[in-house]
Symmetry: C2
Subunit: 209 residues, 2 copies
């Protein structure tokens, strides 16, 4: 592990990857930094700086080759250990995630989903089988899943997190508003929807005086 990699750079690289996938699907072969930067809402210099991480190089004549740059970002971001994802909670958030994932991420796959409601258990929802929450530890261990999405109500979030971590999870995307207590080696990202709207409201008004 050489120099520390910042969250912002990774977020941007993932965004570039998305845009490049779209460009590839449109049959575009080459792109200049100023074009890609515009699509990603960053400056061309910022983009070129970010790409310095990848040891990938473009050409002054034709810019970047879409397909190879895409592969370079994928190689950099992709860690095969963390390709399998578990989803806990099949309410609206959980279903939304399953729908969005359908076919979108080439790098990650939601292997299993869990819920405590027996109505949902054993059904296949958006291409993913649902198991009872009590089966989570054994399935996560057996499949060696390292990443989990928590989409359960606030009241059970910590309890679910404890169980997941015990089973080997080291990365959590938490859609519940609760702050989780986790060991130092576990990475948690919070996505509270209410806080997100409050942030937008503040900055929108702030920007316009």
């Amino acid at each position: 592990m050489n120099s520390k990699i910042s969250e912002k750079v990774i977020e941007r690289l993932i965004l570039y990857k998305n845009i490049l996938e779209d460009l590839e699907n449109q049959g575009i072969l080459n792109i200049y930094s100023h074009q890609l930067a515009k699509m990603a809402d960053v400056t061309p210099v910022q983009l070129r700086r970010d790409l310095m991480l990848l040891s990938y190089y473009g050409k002054p004549t034709s810019g970047y080759e879409v397909s190879t740059l895409l592969k370079a970002i994928e190689n950099f971001i992709y860690k095969s250990d963390c390709a399998k994802v578990a989803l806990v909670g099949l309410g609206h958030v959980g279903r939304a995630i399953l729908n969005y994932f359908q076919g979108r991420s080439k790098l990650l796959k939601i292997i299993a989903s869990f819920d405590k409601d027996y109505e949902k258990v054993n059904r296949v929802i958006a291409g993913c089988r649902c198991y009872h929450i009590s089966e989570a530890p054994s399935i996560i261990k057996r499949e060696n899943i390292k990443i989990a999405i928590i989409a359960v109500p606030q009241s059970s979030a910590q309890e679910v997190a404890d169980m997941l971590i015990e089973a080997g999870i080291i990365g959590i995307l938490n859609y519940s508003p609760t702050r989780l207590n986790v060991p130092a080696n576990v990475y948690v990202e919070y996505r509270d929807m209410v806080r997100a709207v409050e942030k937008v409201a503040f900055f929108a008004c702030y920007k316009n005086q």
Copy 2:
């Protein structure tokens, strides 16, 4: 507008507000910076720095008074112009947001929701009436709504954004993966769920070698 306010500070202030609401509900009257900082996963110095924005002061003996600090943050964050929110798209993401909002945000209120599906139109879902998308411009103008959440499929996100901005929206929370083309005065926050999981996967693995 004196000095520029950073996104990170505001995100943290909103988080403190959340935690303080919980503390108030638990009947806790006072709290020290190191306690609140721990709950928010920041350093005590960082917390005290953040509070410098508010012109609110604690006491070395008893720390901060929960109720007044909470009010100070609310006052700072709350802009009455931006209290009304519109939601576009009542798929799973839209419903999830409505459920989370139920009673949670004291500062903001989702006034109206919109969908193109006539099955949903005129129903009241999670306490919020659903209108046909074609009514959005007139209702947004009439109610003077400034903030909107976009929870529609990728293919219609830009079109919806154009319509909203035309009707007076200046802040957008975008759950679709699409990058939006908007005028300079409009603030947009992106919340793509697939990219979020990819970020977690990267850092979880990166942290653990």
